[in-house]
Symmetry: C2
Subunit: 337 residues, 2 copies
DNA sequence: AAAAATTACGAAACCGTTTTCGTGTTGAAA
DNA sequence: TTTCAACACGAAAACGGTTTCGTAATTTTT
């Protein structure tokens, strides 16, 4: 109920100046013990708390970091955000999260808004539409306002900044290699449209592994606006080859593939082995449980936050690109007896 | 690179006063067309953007809403957050998200920090530890600073505020009733410790349904610090009764129960039917797919945001408690042929 | 041509802090 | 008793804007 109390209020009430109050509350020895105690007691009684906006204006620091992600209803992104939060919190930063919903326009809006001085730094993962349209001009706004920026996961070479990515090529390679090692000869890839950088990179790893032993490739690009299940189903309707292994670049594709394969009466992994690139929860609960290439979203977030903190401290340091390596988490979907 | 430019810079450069610049940029007719154009051109050229902190201090509004949730790596919470974001964004509010990690201390820290004037309102879901210790004194801080507050999902009667909850009792009732309708006689409940309000409410619904037809109850409280799987397994080791139906208050418990039941060679739903209370993604991918009571997290978020906006506009309105009704989403895990 | 109204702008206060720089009082040293 | 530090505090500037009010200069009205 009590209207918010300010320094000025305290000063007036106690008949001292605002400077005295300010100093007293910050424990300055400039103020006598007596006055200090009186002021502190009064302030506590009325639950005085310095106005953070005034503090920010004064210190020219907001202690807030903006995060722009394509969506939040996505296990990987929440993991990354948790990682970011974890380290940022240690240094008393707060996070302001904006969702681009994979839309270029929303991303532009978010970035324009965040570069108005409300944050001390930005961590962003680029929206699909942005990548597709290849339009990154809004990132100039960040550069113009010279706000520290770290890009993660969905990045672009067109933007100069610190970056954190997972070793998508290596992961794709590992996944494919693993399928080969358990005897797969016709390995299909379920991936995104190629403007999504991470999908493309994983594809590179996949192709690299295949090329080494001259196995044929079989790539299906899934478009998210169309029915995912139907698109994956095509894999099983191909007349020429029948895959005995599937590498899916994300959890949904992989889990859907498992569902479909089972509905076709295929045994996993005997008839067809499946592996997914993901950090998610679904993998543990599919039947059989899904073997995955773990992305380490948490680590990614931590590293992104650290890079940002470094840059805030030193704007002149050279840009850094961190690569988080993946690892293979073997579960039943590739474990032949 | 270019250092941030301020009103004062423009004023000095163009040899006018800051008031003139401010007015010109806000399109005031008080300033002549000529001067206005000149100022606007100059401002655009140098990418001038008013400092948001200064604006906030001046307007005494931050246009930021704080959200405190137990964790973000949780489908339900991300859904709610998306809902909040959706409506808040429409009104040009931004969100600042803080994680309590289910810890009372962290929650206190978050709330203390957010009540320093950095936000115009707060939306929170209470941490488990807070509920367990039954200590809500930190919410007084919110009241003292008279910041609008909306509680969602995990609430407490001890806190006066607007609230949004799902119809947990009704949902628990629906779930249990559904199991009864497909012929289950021994329905077990997998739930949280009883200090978690939502678990307790769902239990109430469960008991209500059982009581109506005098079926026996069989409740297992799962403790999160212990191994979940082992605790659920006990259900199948009970000497006296063997359940033919399981109602789990969340997705993980339900999906784990499915895994365990299958490993025991039970057929789902013939031998044992399973239903979960959740909005999550896992349900679609378990084998068989899990029947659920849908929570409508998105709706919840939207309503929470709307309630908050109402209160910001009118601090005197009576507190409101919205109840989001659930609905039954039947999948294979309860669909006997 | 004098009076009134309009135009176009600047000065200053204000939002809530912190911080630098004085300055009047004391108490101690000379 | 005079001189000088030390002490305890206040005035004012600063952070970056907005806004109210005042006022010269110009234009319109009479």
């Amino acid at each position: 109920m009590s209207r918010k109390i300010t320094l000025k209020d305290i000063a007036k009430e106690l008949d001292v100046s605002t400077s005295t109050v300010s100093k007293a509350l910050r424990g300055s020895s400039e103020i006598s013990q007596k006055t200090r105690d009186k002021i502190i007691a009064f302030a506590n009684y009325y639950h005085y708390k310095p106005n953070s906006t005034a503090l920010k204006l004064q210190s020219q620091k907001t202690m807030v970091i903006g995060i722009v992600v394509p969506e939040i209803v996505h296990h990987f992104f929440t993991k990354v955000i948790s990682g970011i939060e974890k380290v940022l919190n240690k240094y008393h930063y707060n996070v302001m999260i904006c969702l681009s919903n994979e839309s270029l326009n929303k991303e532009i809006l978010n970035i324009n808004m965040l570069t108005d001085g409300s944050v001390d730094g930005l961590i962003v993962s680029i929206a699909k539409e942005t990548l597709e349209k290849n339009d990154f001009s809004h990132f100039n706004e960040i550069k113009n306002n010279d706000i520290p920026l770290v890009l993660f996961d969905r990045i672009s070479d067109k933007i100069e900044s610190d970056k954190v990515i997972v070793d998508d090529i290596g992961g794709g390679y590992k996944a494919t290699k693993h399928l080969m090692e358990i005897g797969c000869k016709n390995i299909a890839l379920l991936t995104t449209p190629s403007h999504v950088t991470v999908g493309l990179e994983r594809e590179k790893g996949y192709l690299k592994a295949l090329k080494e032993v001259k196995l044929p490739s079989n790539i299906i690009h899934i478009h998210e606006n169309k029915n995912i299940k139907e698109q994956i189903e095509k894999l099983f309707n191909q007349s020429n080859v029948y895959p005995d292994g599937i590498f899916a670049v994300n959890e949904i594709y992989a889990a859907t593939a498992i569902k479909i394969a089972r509905s076709k009466g295929l045994k996993i992994p005997e008839d067809i082995a499946i592996i997914g690139f993901t950090d998610g929860l679904i993998s543990k609960f599919t039947e059989p449980a899904l073997t995955t290439i773990a992305q380490h979203g948490l680590t990614m977030g931590e590293q992104a936050a650290e890079l940002l903190l470094y840059r805030i401290k030193d704007k002149e340091r050279p840009f850094e690109k961190k690569v988080i390596s993946t690892n293979l988490k073997i579960r039943k979907s590739t474990q032949k007896k």
